[in-house]
Protein backbone atom coordinates (compact mmCIF):
# COMPACT_ATOMS: atom_id res chain seq x y z
CA UNK A 1 0.00 0.00 0.00
CA UNK A 2 2.01 2.85 -1.27
CA UNK A 3 1.43 6.56 -1.30
CA UNK A 4 1.20 6.72 -5.10
CA UNK A 5 -1.66 4.24 -4.88
CA UNK A 6 -3.46 6.33 -2.27
CA UNK A 7 -3.01 9.54 -4.20
CA UNK A 8 -4.17 7.83 -7.36
CA UNK A 9 -7.30 6.66 -5.63
CA UNK A 10 -8.03 10.11 -4.28
CA UNK A 11 -7.56 11.65 -7.70
CA UNK A 12 -9.95 9.11 -9.16
CA UNK A 13 -12.55 10.22 -6.63
CA UNK A 14 -12.35 13.84 -7.76
CA UNK A 15 -14.50 13.51 -10.90
CA UNK A 16 -17.19 11.78 -8.86
CA UNK A 17 -17.09 14.59 -6.34
CA UNK A 18 -17.21 17.21 -9.05
CA UNK A 19 -20.16 15.41 -10.59
CA UNK A 20 -21.98 15.32 -7.27
CA UNK A 21 -21.43 19.03 -6.72
CA UNK A 22 -22.57 19.95 -10.22
CA UNK A 23 -25.65 17.79 -10.16
CA UNK A 24 -26.85 19.05 -6.79
CA UNK A 25 -26.29 22.57 -7.95
CA UNK A 26 -28.23 22.11 -11.14
CA UNK A 27 -30.98 20.00 -9.58
CA UNK A 28 -31.64 22.60 -6.93
CA UNK A 29 -32.09 25.23 -9.58
CA UNK A 30 -33.55 23.50 -12.58
CA UNK A 31 -36.24 21.33 -11.06
CA UNK A 32 -39.56 23.21 -11.14
CA UNK A 33 -40.27 25.20 -8.01
CA UNK A 34 -38.97 28.51 -6.74
CA UNK A 35 -37.03 28.33 -3.49
CA UNK A 36 -37.29 32.07 -2.87
CA UNK A 37 -41.04 32.12 -3.36
CA UNK A 38 -41.34 29.23 -0.93
CA UNK A 39 -39.01 30.95 1.48
CA UNK A 40 -40.96 34.17 1.60
CA UNK A 41 -44.43 32.74 1.71
CA UNK A 42 -47.60 34.14 0.16
CA UNK A 43 -47.43 37.61 1.76
CA UNK A 44 -44.34 38.86 -0.08
CA UNK A 45 -44.46 41.45 -2.83
CA UNK A 46 -42.79 41.09 -6.20
CA UNK A 47 -40.18 43.60 -5.20
CA UNK A 48 -39.33 41.75 -2.00
CA UNK A 49 -38.84 38.54 -3.92
CA UNK A 50 -36.68 40.23 -6.56
CA UNK A 51 -34.54 41.79 -3.87
CA UNK A 52 -34.02 38.54 -2.04
CA UNK A 53 -33.26 36.82 -5.28
CA UNK A 54 -30.57 39.34 -6.06
CA UNK A 55 -29.19 39.05 -2.55
CA UNK A 56 -28.55 35.34 -2.96
CA UNK A 57 -27.33 35.77 -6.50
CA UNK A 58 -30.27 33.81 -7.81
CA UNK A 59 -31.09 36.42 -10.44
CA UNK A 60 -27.97 35.54 -12.41
CA UNK A 61 -27.86 32.85 -15.05
CA UNK A 62 -27.26 29.34 -13.73
CA UNK A 63 -23.87 29.18 -15.39
CA UNK A 64 -22.85 32.43 -13.76
CA UNK A 65 -24.11 31.30 -10.36
CA UNK A 66 -22.18 28.11 -10.76
CA UNK A 67 -18.93 29.89 -11.53
CA UNK A 68 -19.34 32.05 -8.42
CA UNK A 69 -20.16 29.01 -6.33
CA UNK A 70 -17.15 27.09 -7.61
CA UNK A 71 -14.73 29.95 -7.08
CA UNK A 72 -15.92 30.23 -3.49
CA UNK A 73 -15.76 26.48 -3.00
CA UNK A 74 -12.13 26.34 -4.11
CA UNK A 75 -11.17 28.83 -1.41
CA UNK A 76 -12.99 26.62 1.08
CA UNK A 77 -15.92 28.98 1.45
CA UNK A 78 -19.24 27.15 1.51
CA UNK A 79 -21.27 30.33 1.79
CA UNK A 80 -23.63 31.58 4.45
CA UNK A 81 -26.65 29.71 5.67
CA UNK A 82 -29.88 31.53 4.85
CA UNK A 83 -31.84 30.28 7.85
CA UNK A 84 -29.11 30.27 10.49
CA UNK A 85 -27.08 33.22 9.20
CA UNK A 86 -23.79 31.53 9.93
CA UNK A 87 -20.93 30.21 7.87
CA UNK A 88 -21.97 26.87 6.42
CA UNK A 89 -18.51 25.35 6.90
CA UNK A 90 -18.52 26.19 10.60
CA UNK A 91 -22.05 24.93 11.05
CA UNK A 92 -21.22 21.60 9.49
CA UNK A 93 -17.92 21.29 11.34
CA UNK A 94 -19.79 21.71 14.61
CA UNK A 95 -22.29 18.94 13.87
CA UNK A 96 -20.08 16.50 11.98
CA UNK A 97 -18.42 14.97 15.07
CA UNK A 98 -21.83 13.95 16.40
CA UNK A 99 -22.66 12.04 13.25
CA UNK A 100 -19.20 10.55 12.93
CA UNK A 101 -19.29 9.06 16.41
CA UNK A 102 -22.77 7.67 15.80
CA UNK A 103 -21.81 6.20 12.44
CA UNK A 104 -18.61 4.61 13.72
CA UNK A 105 -20.38 2.95 16.64
CA UNK A 106 -23.19 1.78 14.36
CA UNK A 107 -20.69 0.29 11.91
CA UNK A 108 -18.85 -1.50 14.70
CA UNK A 109 -22.11 -2.98 15.94
CA UNK A 110 -23.08 -4.01 12.41
CA UNK A 111 -19.76 -5.61 11.59
CA UNK A 112 -19.44 -7.34 14.96
CA UNK A 113 -22.84 -8.98 14.83
CA UNK A 114 -22.50 -9.73 11.13
CA UNK A 115 -19.30 -11.66 11.88
CA UNK A 116 -20.97 -13.62 14.65
CA UNK A 117 -24.00 -14.45 12.51
CA UNK A 118 -21.97 -15.45 9.48
CA UNK A 119 -19.52 -17.59 11.49
CA UNK A 120 -22.27 -19.30 13.46
CA UNK A 121 -24.34 -19.85 10.33
CA UNK A 122 -21.36 -21.43 8.60
CA UNK A 123 -20.54 -23.51 11.64
CA UNK A 124 -24.09 -24.88 11.62
CA UNK A 125 -23.97 -25.50 7.88
CA UNK A 126 -26.72 -27.84 6.71
CA UNK A 127 -28.38 -28.15 10.12
CA UNK A 128 -31.55 -26.51 11.39
CA UNK A 129 -29.89 -23.63 13.33
CA UNK A 130 -28.51 -22.43 10.02
CA UNK A 131 -32.05 -21.94 8.74
CA UNK A 132 -32.81 -19.95 11.87
CA UNK A 133 -29.86 -17.67 11.15
CA UNK A 134 -30.95 -17.33 7.50
CA UNK A 135 -34.51 -16.52 8.52
CA UNK A 136 -33.35 -13.89 10.97
CA UNK A 137 -31.11 -12.32 8.35
CA UNK A 138 -33.90 -12.43 5.77
CA UNK A 139 -36.34 -10.55 7.98
CA UNK A 140 -33.78 -8.06 9.26
CA UNK A 141 -32.48 -7.22 5.81
CA UNK A 142 -35.93 -6.34 4.49
CA UNK A 143 -36.68 -3.62 7.01
CA UNK A 144 -34.97 -0.25 6.51
CA UNK A 145 -33.32 1.72 9.33
CA UNK A 146 -36.19 4.20 9.44
CA UNK A 147 -38.69 1.49 10.36
CA UNK A 148 -36.27 -0.09 12.81
CA UNK A 149 -35.96 3.24 14.56
CA UNK A 150 -39.72 3.60 14.96
CA UNK A 151 -40.17 -0.03 16.00
CA UNK A 152 -37.38 0.18 18.55
CA UNK A 153 -38.88 3.35 20.00
CA UNK A 154 -42.20 1.58 20.36
CA UNK A 155 -40.72 -1.54 21.90
CA UNK A 156 -37.85 -0.29 24.06
CA UNK A 157 -38.98 3.28 24.55
CA UNK A 158 -42.70 2.92 25.16
CA UNK A 159 -43.82 -0.67 25.73
CA UNK A 160 -40.84 -1.49 27.96
CA UNK A 161 -39.44 1.97 28.63
CA UNK A 162 -35.84 1.16 29.39
CA UNK A 163 -34.04 3.21 26.77
CA UNK A 164 -33.84 6.95 26.17
CA UNK A 165 -35.43 7.88 22.84
CA UNK A 166 -34.43 11.47 22.46
CA UNK A 167 -31.24 13.52 22.34
CA UNK A 168 -27.55 12.85 22.61
CA UNK A 169 -27.22 12.69 26.38
CA UNK A 170 -28.92 13.54 29.65
CA UNK A 171 -29.62 17.25 29.78
CA UNK A 172 -28.92 17.26 33.51
CA UNK A 173 -25.25 16.57 32.88
CA UNK A 174 -23.25 19.59 31.90
CA UNK A 175 -20.30 19.02 29.64
CA UNK A 176 -18.77 21.79 27.64
CA UNK A 177 -16.94 20.00 24.94
CA UNK A 178 -14.04 21.45 23.02
CA UNK A 179 -14.32 19.18 20.02
CA UNK A 180 -17.93 17.96 20.06
CA UNK A 181 -16.58 14.40 19.93
CA UNK A 182 -18.38 13.72 23.23
CA UNK A 183 -17.61 10.04 23.38
CA UNK A 184 -13.91 10.26 22.65
CA UNK A 185 -13.40 13.44 24.59
CA UNK A 186 -15.23 12.33 27.72
CA UNK A 187 -13.19 9.13 27.74
CA UNK A 188 -9.95 11.07 27.42
CA UNK A 189 -10.95 13.57 30.06
CA UNK A 190 -12.12 10.88 32.42
CA UNK A 191 -15.72 12.14 32.51
CA UNK A 192 -17.15 8.65 32.52
CA UNK A 193 -20.66 9.69 33.55
CA UNK A 194 -20.80 11.59 30.26
CA UNK A 195 -19.50 8.57 28.37
CA UNK A 196 -22.16 6.40 29.95
CA UNK A 197 -24.97 8.80 29.15
CA UNK A 198 -23.80 9.33 25.57
CA UNK A 199 -23.50 5.60 24.98
CA UNK A 200 -26.88 4.95 26.54
CA UNK A 201 -28.52 7.49 24.27
CA UNK A 202 -26.66 6.11 21.31
CA UNK A 203 -27.94 2.54 21.64
CA UNK A 204 -31.25 2.84 19.82
CA UNK A 205 -30.16 5.12 16.96
CA UNK A 206 -26.97 3.14 16.44
CA UNK A 207 -28.80 -0.19 16.48
CA UNK A 208 -31.42 1.13 14.05
CA UNK A 209 -28.67 2.16 11.67
CA UNK A 210 -26.71 -1.03 12.22
CA UNK A 211 -29.39 -3.68 11.75
CA UNK A 212 -29.86 -3.46 7.96
CA UNK A 213 -26.12 -3.22 7.39
CA UNK A 214 -25.54 -6.11 9.78
CA UNK A 215 -28.04 -8.28 7.94
CA UNK A 216 -26.76 -7.59 4.46
CA UNK A 217 -23.12 -7.99 5.49
CA UNK A 218 -23.88 -11.21 7.34
CA UNK A 219 -25.69 -12.59 4.30
CA UNK A 220 -22.90 -11.72 1.90
CA UNK A 221 -20.15 -12.88 4.26
CA UNK A 222 -21.95 -16.13 4.95
CA UNK A 223 -22.32 -16.97 1.30
CA UNK A 224 -18.66 -16.10 0.70
CA UNK A 225 -17.67 -18.28 3.65
CA UNK A 226 -19.76 -21.11 2.26
CA UNK A 227 -17.99 -20.83 -1.06
CA UNK A 228 -14.67 -20.73 0.76
CA UNK A 229 -15.53 -23.86 2.78
CA UNK A 230 -15.61 -25.87 -0.44
CA UNK A 231 -12.12 -24.74 -1.46
CA UNK A 232 -9.35 -27.24 -1.37
CA UNK A 233 -7.16 -25.44 1.13
CA UNK A 234 -10.01 -25.69 3.62
CA UNK A 235 -10.48 -29.39 2.92
CA UNK A 236 -6.78 -29.83 3.43
CA UNK A 237 -6.85 -27.85 6.67
CA UNK A 238 -9.56 -30.18 7.95
CA UNK A 239 -7.19 -33.11 7.52
CA UNK A 240 -4.44 -31.30 9.37
CA UNK A 241 -6.14 -31.47 12.72
CA UNK A 242 -7.76 -28.05 13.02
CA UNK A 243 -11.10 -28.02 14.81
CA UNK A 244 -14.26 -27.18 12.90
CA UNK A 245 -14.56 -23.66 14.26
CA UNK A 246 -10.86 -23.02 13.87
CA UNK A 247 -10.97 -24.00 10.20
CA UNK A 248 -13.71 -21.45 9.66
CA UNK A 249 -12.25 -18.48 11.45
CA UNK A 250 -8.56 -18.97 10.97
CA UNK A 251 -8.54 -20.38 7.43
CA UNK A 252 -11.70 -19.46 5.55
CA UNK A 253 -12.68 -16.16 7.17
CA UNK A 254 -9.91 -13.97 5.89
CA UNK A 255 -10.34 -15.21 2.34
CA UNK A 256 -14.09 -14.76 2.51
CA UNK A 257 -13.68 -11.22 3.81
CA UNK A 258 -12.10 -10.09 0.56
CA UNK A 259 -15.12 -10.60 -1.75
CA UNK A 260 -17.55 -9.95 1.11
CA UNK A 261 -16.09 -6.52 1.78
CA UNK A 262 -16.07 -5.68 -1.88
CA UNK A 263 -19.69 -6.73 -2.24
CA UNK A 264 -21.10 -5.07 0.85
CA UNK A 265 -18.97 -1.92 0.68
CA UNK A 266 -21.76 0.17 -0.82
CA UNK A 267 -23.97 -0.70 2.12
CA UNK A 268 -21.64 1.17 4.45
CA UNK A 269 -22.43 4.35 2.58
CA UNK A 270 -26.14 3.57 2.89
CA UNK A 271 -25.67 3.56 6.65
CA UNK A 272 -24.28 7.09 6.47
CA UNK A 273 -27.25 8.18 4.37
CA UNK A 274 -29.52 6.59 6.97
CA UNK A 275 -28.41 9.11 9.59
CA UNK A 276 -30.63 11.72 7.94
CA UNK A 277 -33.82 10.07 9.15
CA UNK A 278 -32.58 8.23 12.18
CA UNK A 279 -31.08 11.35 13.68
CA UNK A 280 -34.33 13.12 12.97
CA UNK A 281 -36.41 10.47 14.68
CA UNK A 282 -34.22 10.39 17.79
CA UNK A 283 -33.64 14.15 17.90
CA UNK A 284 -29.92 13.51 17.53
CA UNK A 285 -28.01 16.73 16.82
CA UNK A 286 -25.89 15.58 13.86
CA UNK A 287 -25.61 16.68 10.24
CA UNK A 288 -28.43 14.35 9.18
CA UNK A 289 -30.92 16.09 11.41
CA UNK A 290 -29.54 19.42 10.26
CA UNK A 291 -30.09 18.40 6.65
CA UNK A 292 -33.82 17.99 7.13
CA UNK A 293 -34.05 21.40 8.78
CA UNK A 294 -32.07 22.86 5.93
CA UNK A 295 -34.47 21.39 3.41
CA UNK A 296 -37.55 22.48 5.28
CA UNK A 297 -36.14 26.03 5.44
CA UNK A 298 -35.08 25.90 1.76
CA UNK A 299 -31.60 26.86 2.87
CA UNK A 300 -29.82 26.37 -0.44
CA UNK A 301 -26.21 27.04 0.68
CA UNK A 302 -26.60 24.75 3.67
CA UNK A 303 -28.19 21.97 1.60
CA UNK A 304 -25.41 22.31 -0.92
CA UNK A 305 -22.76 22.12 1.77
CA UNK A 306 -24.36 19.13 3.43
CA UNK A 307 -24.68 17.18 0.21
CA UNK A 308 -21.02 17.87 -0.47
CA UNK A 309 -20.14 16.66 3.04
CA UNK A 310 -22.10 13.46 2.56
CA UNK A 311 -20.49 12.86 -0.81
CA UNK A 312 -17.02 13.28 0.72
CA UNK A 313 -17.91 10.88 3.53
CA UNK A 314 -19.14 8.34 1.00
CA UNK A 315 -15.97 8.60 -1.00
CA UNK A 316 -13.79 8.29 2.09
CA UNK A 317 -15.64 5.19 3.21
CA UNK A 318 -15.20 3.65 -0.23
CA UNK A 319 -11.52 4.46 -0.10
CA UNK A 320 -11.12 2.86 3.33
CA UNK A 321 -12.90 -0.23 2.09
CA UNK A 322 -10.56 -0.51 -0.89
CA UNK A 323 -7.55 -0.12 1.37
CA UNK A 324 -8.91 -2.79 3.69
CA UNK A 325 -9.27 -5.20 0.78
CA UNK A 326 -5.71 -4.62 -0.39
CA UNK A 327 -4.56 -5.14 3.16
CA UNK A 328 -6.40 -8.47 3.33
CA UNK A 329 -5.31 -9.92 0.04
CA UNK A 330 -1.56 -10.08 -0.59
CA UNK A 331 -2.17 -10.89 -4.25
CA UNK A 332 -3.52 -7.38 -4.81
CA UNK A 333 -0.64 -5.61 -3.16
CA UNK A 334 2.12 -5.79 -5.71
CA UNK A 335 0.21 -5.13 -8.88
Amino acid sequence: MSYPYLINRLLLALPTLAGAVTITFILLRVVPGDPIAMMTGPGATEADIAQLRAHYGLDQSIAHQFVIYLSQLITGDLGTSISLRQNVGELIAGRLPVTIELVVIAMLIAVGFALILALKGTFWRGRWPERLVDGFIGVTVAIPDFLWALSLILILGVAIPIMPIFGRMDLTISFDSWTNFYLTESLLRGRFEVTRSVLYHMVLPAVSLALPLMAITARVLKSCLNAEMNREYVTLARTQGFGRLKVIYSQALRNALVPATALSGVQFTFLIGGTVLVERIFGYPGIGNMAIDAVINRDLPLIQGLVLTFAILFILVNLLIDLFITFLDPRLRHV
Binding site: G19, G33, R298
Partner: protein, 288 residues
Protein backbone atom coordinates in the same frame (compact mmCIF):
# COMPACT_ATOMS: atom_id res chain seq x y z
CA UNK B 1 -32.94 -29.10 -6.48
CA UNK B 2 -35.88 -28.02 -8.54
CA UNK B 3 -35.03 -30.12 -11.58
CA UNK B 4 -37.97 -32.39 -10.87
CA UNK B 5 -40.33 -29.43 -10.93
CA UNK B 6 -38.73 -27.40 -13.68
CA UNK B 7 -41.35 -28.36 -16.25
CA UNK B 8 -44.29 -27.17 -14.15
CA UNK B 9 -45.65 -23.74 -15.07
CA UNK B 10 -43.88 -20.81 -13.47
CA UNK B 11 -46.97 -19.46 -11.73
CA UNK B 12 -47.59 -22.84 -10.13
CA UNK B 13 -44.06 -22.96 -8.75
CA UNK B 14 -44.25 -19.38 -7.50
CA UNK B 15 -47.50 -20.06 -5.67
CA UNK B 16 -45.88 -23.10 -4.06
CA UNK B 17 -42.86 -21.18 -2.81
CA UNK B 18 -43.79 -20.26 0.79
CA UNK B 19 -42.14 -16.85 0.77
CA UNK B 20 -43.62 -15.89 -2.58
CA UNK B 21 -47.03 -17.05 -1.39
CA UNK B 22 -46.76 -14.91 1.74
CA UNK B 23 -45.76 -11.94 -0.39
CA UNK B 24 -48.64 -12.53 -2.79
CA UNK B 25 -51.07 -12.63 0.12
CA UNK B 26 -49.78 -9.32 1.48
CA UNK B 27 -49.88 -7.74 -1.95
CA UNK B 28 -53.38 -9.14 -2.52
CA UNK B 29 -54.60 -7.68 0.75
CA UNK B 30 -53.17 -4.30 -0.18
CA UNK B 31 -54.88 -4.48 -3.56
CA UNK B 32 -58.20 -5.32 -1.96
CA UNK B 33 -57.84 -2.51 0.55
CA UNK B 34 -56.86 -0.04 -2.16
CA UNK B 35 -59.63 -0.93 -4.59
CA UNK B 36 -62.42 -1.51 -2.11
CA UNK B 37 -61.43 1.28 0.29
CA UNK B 38 -64.76 3.14 0.10
CA UNK B 39 -66.71 -0.03 0.87
CA UNK B 40 -64.33 -1.62 3.34
CA UNK B 41 -63.81 1.39 5.58
CA UNK B 42 -66.27 1.56 8.42
CA UNK B 43 -66.03 5.39 8.52
CA UNK B 44 -65.06 8.32 6.41
CA UNK B 45 -61.31 8.61 7.01
CA UNK B 46 -61.57 12.39 7.33
CA UNK B 47 -64.63 12.52 9.55
CA UNK B 48 -63.75 14.05 12.90
CA UNK B 49 -65.52 13.18 16.10
CA UNK B 50 -63.90 15.15 18.86
CA UNK B 51 -66.06 13.46 21.50
CA UNK B 52 -64.42 10.15 20.79
CA UNK B 53 -60.78 11.16 20.33
CA UNK B 54 -57.88 8.92 21.44
CA UNK B 55 -60.01 5.80 21.68
CA UNK B 56 -57.80 2.70 22.00
CA UNK B 57 -58.37 -0.35 19.78
CA UNK B 58 -61.63 -2.10 20.58
CA UNK B 59 -60.12 -5.09 22.38
CA UNK B 60 -58.48 -2.82 24.93
CA UNK B 61 -60.03 -1.32 28.01
CA UNK B 62 -62.22 1.70 27.10
CA UNK B 63 -62.20 0.57 23.48
CA UNK B 64 -65.28 1.18 21.36
CA UNK B 65 -66.27 -1.61 18.94
CA UNK B 66 -67.47 1.03 16.47
CA UNK B 67 -63.87 2.18 16.11
CA UNK B 68 -62.22 -1.19 15.68
CA UNK B 69 -58.61 0.06 15.74
CA UNK B 70 -59.27 3.17 17.79
CA UNK B 71 -59.23 6.86 16.89
CA UNK B 72 -56.65 9.63 16.69
CA UNK B 73 -56.45 13.03 18.37
CA UNK B 74 -59.31 14.37 16.25
CA UNK B 75 -61.43 11.28 16.69
CA UNK B 76 -60.86 10.00 13.18
CA UNK B 77 -61.18 6.27 12.63
CA UNK B 78 -57.75 4.63 12.41
CA UNK B 79 -58.90 1.52 10.57
CA UNK B 80 -60.39 3.60 7.77
CA UNK B 81 -57.33 5.81 7.57
CA UNK B 82 -55.07 2.76 7.31
CA UNK B 83 -57.20 1.29 4.53
CA UNK B 84 -57.07 4.53 2.55
CA UNK B 85 -53.35 4.73 3.30
CA UNK B 86 -52.88 1.41 1.50
CA UNK B 87 -54.36 3.05 -1.57
CA UNK B 88 -51.74 5.82 -1.65
CA UNK B 89 -48.95 3.38 -0.88
CA UNK B 90 -49.95 1.06 -3.70
CA UNK B 91 -50.38 3.83 -6.25
CA UNK B 92 -46.95 5.22 -5.48
CA UNK B 93 -45.38 1.76 -5.44
CA UNK B 94 -46.80 0.74 -8.80
CA UNK B 95 -46.22 3.94 -10.72
CA UNK B 96 -42.84 4.88 -9.28
CA UNK B 97 -41.39 1.40 -9.49
CA UNK B 98 -42.54 0.90 -13.07
CA UNK B 99 -41.13 4.22 -14.19
CA UNK B 100 -37.83 3.73 -12.42
CA UNK B 101 -37.63 0.27 -13.96
CA UNK B 102 -38.29 1.64 -17.41
CA UNK B 103 -35.60 4.31 -17.20
CA UNK B 104 -33.02 2.11 -15.47
CA UNK B 105 -33.60 -0.87 -17.73
CA UNK B 106 -33.26 1.03 -20.99
CA UNK B 107 -30.07 2.75 -19.84
CA UNK B 108 -28.70 -0.47 -18.34
CA UNK B 109 -29.37 -2.42 -21.52
CA UNK B 110 -27.73 0.23 -23.67
CA UNK B 111 -24.67 0.37 -21.41
CA UNK B 112 -24.35 -3.39 -21.22
CA UNK B 113 -24.98 -4.06 -24.88
CA UNK B 114 -23.04 -1.30 -26.59
CA UNK B 115 -20.19 -0.99 -24.11
CA UNK B 116 -17.46 1.52 -24.91
CA UNK B 117 -18.31 5.19 -24.55
CA UNK B 118 -22.02 4.62 -23.93
CA UNK B 119 -21.18 2.31 -21.08
CA UNK B 120 -18.60 4.65 -19.62
CA UNK B 121 -20.99 7.57 -19.65
CA UNK B 122 -23.87 5.70 -18.05
CA UNK B 123 -21.73 3.90 -15.50
CA UNK B 124 -20.10 7.13 -14.45
CA UNK B 125 -23.54 8.68 -13.99
CA UNK B 126 -24.55 5.74 -11.81
CA UNK B 127 -21.38 6.16 -9.73
CA UNK B 128 -22.11 9.83 -9.17
CA UNK B 129 -25.71 9.08 -8.30
CA UNK B 130 -24.61 6.51 -5.76
CA UNK B 131 -22.45 9.08 -4.02
CA UNK B 132 -25.55 10.98 -2.85
CA UNK B 133 -27.37 10.00 0.26
CA UNK B 134 -30.57 8.76 -1.39
CA UNK B 135 -32.85 9.88 1.41
CA UNK B 136 -31.44 13.37 1.49
CA UNK B 137 -31.62 13.64 -2.27
CA UNK B 138 -35.27 12.63 -2.31
CA UNK B 139 -36.08 15.15 0.39
CA UNK B 140 -34.26 17.88 -1.49
CA UNK B 141 -36.03 17.01 -4.71
CA UNK B 142 -39.47 17.03 -3.19
CA UNK B 143 -38.73 20.19 -1.26
CA UNK B 144 -37.82 21.95 -4.45
CA UNK B 145 -40.63 20.52 -6.56
CA UNK B 146 -43.19 21.22 -3.91
CA UNK B 147 -44.98 18.59 -1.87
CA UNK B 148 -47.40 16.23 -3.54
CA UNK B 149 -47.78 12.71 -4.81
CA UNK B 150 -46.39 13.46 -8.26
CA UNK B 151 -43.25 14.97 -6.71
CA UNK B 152 -42.80 11.87 -4.55
CA UNK B 153 -43.07 9.64 -7.59
CA UNK B 154 -40.65 11.73 -9.65
CA UNK B 155 -38.17 11.77 -6.78
CA UNK B 156 -38.27 7.99 -6.47
CA UNK B 157 -37.72 7.57 -10.19
CA UNK B 158 -34.85 10.05 -10.29
CA UNK B 159 -33.10 8.30 -7.43
CA UNK B 160 -33.83 4.64 -7.91
CA UNK B 161 -33.29 4.13 -11.64
CA UNK B 162 -29.68 3.30 -10.70
CA UNK B 163 -30.75 0.14 -8.88
CA UNK B 164 -32.17 -1.23 -12.13
CA UNK B 165 -29.43 0.19 -14.27
CA UNK B 166 -26.56 -1.52 -12.44
CA UNK B 167 -28.11 -4.96 -12.31
CA UNK B 168 -29.56 -4.91 -15.81
CA UNK B 169 -26.28 -3.68 -17.25
CA UNK B 170 -24.39 -6.59 -15.70
CA UNK B 171 -26.99 -9.11 -16.83
CA UNK B 172 -27.07 -7.71 -20.36
CA UNK B 173 -23.30 -8.12 -20.55
CA UNK B 174 -23.72 -11.76 -19.58
CA UNK B 175 -26.53 -12.32 -22.07
CA UNK B 176 -24.57 -10.63 -24.83
CA UNK B 177 -22.00 -13.41 -24.77
CA UNK B 178 -24.62 -16.12 -25.19
CA UNK B 179 -24.86 -18.12 -28.39
CA UNK B 180 -28.31 -16.92 -29.29
CA UNK B 181 -26.97 -13.40 -29.72
CA UNK B 182 -24.22 -14.44 -32.10
CA UNK B 183 -26.63 -16.54 -34.10
CA UNK B 184 -28.99 -13.57 -34.31
CA UNK B 185 -26.06 -11.53 -35.59
CA UNK B 186 -25.27 -14.11 -38.24
CA UNK B 187 -28.82 -14.13 -39.59
CA UNK B 188 -28.48 -10.36 -39.95
CA UNK B 189 -30.79 -8.86 -37.34
CA UNK B 190 -30.05 -5.24 -36.47
CA UNK B 191 -28.44 -4.52 -33.12
CA UNK B 192 -31.42 -2.66 -31.76
CA UNK B 193 -33.71 -5.52 -32.70
CA UNK B 194 -31.41 -8.06 -31.12
CA UNK B 195 -31.29 -6.00 -27.95
CA UNK B 196 -35.02 -5.57 -27.58
CA UNK B 197 -36.37 -8.73 -29.20
CA UNK B 198 -33.75 -11.29 -28.28
CA UNK B 199 -31.98 -10.06 -25.17
CA UNK B 200 -34.82 -8.30 -23.39
CA UNK B 201 -37.05 -11.36 -22.88
CA UNK B 202 -34.16 -12.98 -21.04
CA UNK B 203 -33.98 -10.05 -18.66
CA UNK B 204 -37.64 -10.20 -17.73
CA UNK B 205 -37.39 -12.64 -14.79
CA UNK B 206 -34.67 -10.54 -13.18
CA UNK B 207 -36.67 -7.42 -13.88
CA UNK B 208 -39.72 -8.82 -12.10
CA UNK B 209 -37.63 -9.53 -9.01
CA UNK B 210 -36.15 -6.03 -9.04
CA UNK B 211 -39.55 -4.50 -9.59
CA UNK B 212 -41.04 -6.29 -6.60
CA UNK B 213 -38.19 -5.17 -4.38
CA UNK B 214 -38.45 -1.62 -5.72
CA UNK B 215 -42.14 -1.48 -4.84
CA UNK B 216 -41.19 -2.13 -1.23
CA UNK B 217 -38.60 0.64 -1.39
CA UNK B 218 -41.09 3.05 -2.98
CA UNK B 219 -43.57 2.44 -0.18
CA UNK B 220 -40.87 3.21 2.37
CA UNK B 221 -39.79 6.37 0.53
CA UNK B 222 -43.37 7.61 0.39
CA UNK B 223 -43.69 6.95 4.10
CA UNK B 224 -40.46 8.79 4.76
CA UNK B 225 -41.53 11.82 2.76
CA UNK B 226 -44.92 11.96 4.42
CA UNK B 227 -43.11 11.59 7.70
CA UNK B 228 -40.93 14.59 6.95
CA UNK B 229 -44.07 16.43 5.90
CA UNK B 230 -43.29 16.59 2.21
CA UNK B 231 -45.70 14.15 0.64
CA UNK B 232 -49.40 14.79 0.13
CA UNK B 233 -51.36 17.26 2.22
CA UNK B 234 -51.12 16.33 5.84
CA UNK B 235 -54.78 15.50 6.40
CA UNK B 236 -54.78 12.96 3.58
CA UNK B 237 -54.58 9.53 5.14
CA UNK B 238 -51.25 8.00 4.15
CA UNK B 239 -49.24 5.64 6.29
CA UNK B 240 -46.46 8.20 6.52
CA UNK B 241 -48.83 10.92 7.68
CA UNK B 242 -50.31 8.56 10.24
CA UNK B 243 -46.82 7.80 11.52
CA UNK B 244 -45.97 11.46 11.70
CA UNK B 245 -49.16 12.23 13.64
CA UNK B 246 -48.81 9.18 15.85
CA UNK B 247 -45.33 10.16 16.87
CA UNK B 248 -46.63 13.22 18.67
CA UNK B 249 -48.79 11.14 21.00
CA UNK B 250 -46.37 8.33 21.47
CA UNK B 251 -46.82 7.97 25.23
CA UNK B 252 -50.48 8.92 25.32
CA UNK B 253 -51.64 6.68 22.46
CA UNK B 254 -48.85 4.41 21.23
CA UNK B 255 -51.20 2.52 18.89
CA UNK B 256 -51.37 5.63 16.71
CA UNK B 257 -47.74 5.03 15.83
CA UNK B 258 -47.68 1.27 16.22
CA UNK B 259 -50.47 0.41 13.78
CA UNK B 260 -49.20 2.32 10.72
CA UNK B 261 -45.64 1.18 11.44
CA UNK B 262 -46.95 -2.40 11.50
CA UNK B 263 -48.68 -1.83 8.15
CA UNK B 264 -45.54 -0.52 6.49
CA UNK B 265 -43.42 -3.30 7.99
CA UNK B 266 -45.86 -5.94 6.73
CA UNK B 267 -45.97 -4.42 3.25
CA UNK B 268 -42.19 -4.21 3.06
CA UNK B 269 -41.67 -7.72 4.40
CA UNK B 270 -44.29 -9.07 2.02
CA UNK B 271 -42.81 -7.45 -1.07
CA UNK B 272 -39.33 -8.55 -0.09
CA UNK B 273 -40.47 -12.09 0.49
CA UNK B 274 -42.22 -12.05 -2.87
CA UNK B 275 -39.06 -10.85 -4.61
CA UNK B 276 -36.89 -13.42 -2.86
CA UNK B 277 -39.40 -16.17 -3.54
CA UNK B 278 -39.63 -15.40 -7.24
CA UNK B 279 -35.87 -15.19 -7.45
CA UNK B 280 -35.57 -18.60 -5.82
CA UNK B 281 -38.01 -20.11 -8.31
CA UNK B 282 -36.55 -18.60 -11.48
CA UNK B 283 -32.91 -18.66 -10.49
CA UNK B 284 -32.08 -22.10 -11.92
CA UNK B 285 -33.48 -20.88 -15.22
CA UNK B 286 -31.50 -17.68 -15.37
CA UNK B 287 -28.38 -19.56 -14.39
CA UNK B 288 -28.60 -22.09 -17.22
Amino acid sequence: MSDGRADLPLTYRIVHEPRALFGLCVLGLMFLAAVLAPWLSPHDPLEQDLLSSFLPPSWKENGDPVFFLGTDNLGRDIASRLIYGARTALIVALIAATMAALLGTVLGMLAGFYGGKTDMLISRAVDIWMSFPAVLLSIVLVAVMGAGLHAVIIAIVIIDWTRFCRVIRAETMVQKERDYVSSAVTIGLTRVRILFQEVFPNLVPLLIVLLTLEMGIAIVVETILSFVGLSVASDTPTWGNLIQEGRQYIHQAPWLLGLPVACVVMAVLGLNALGDGIKEVIDPETRQ
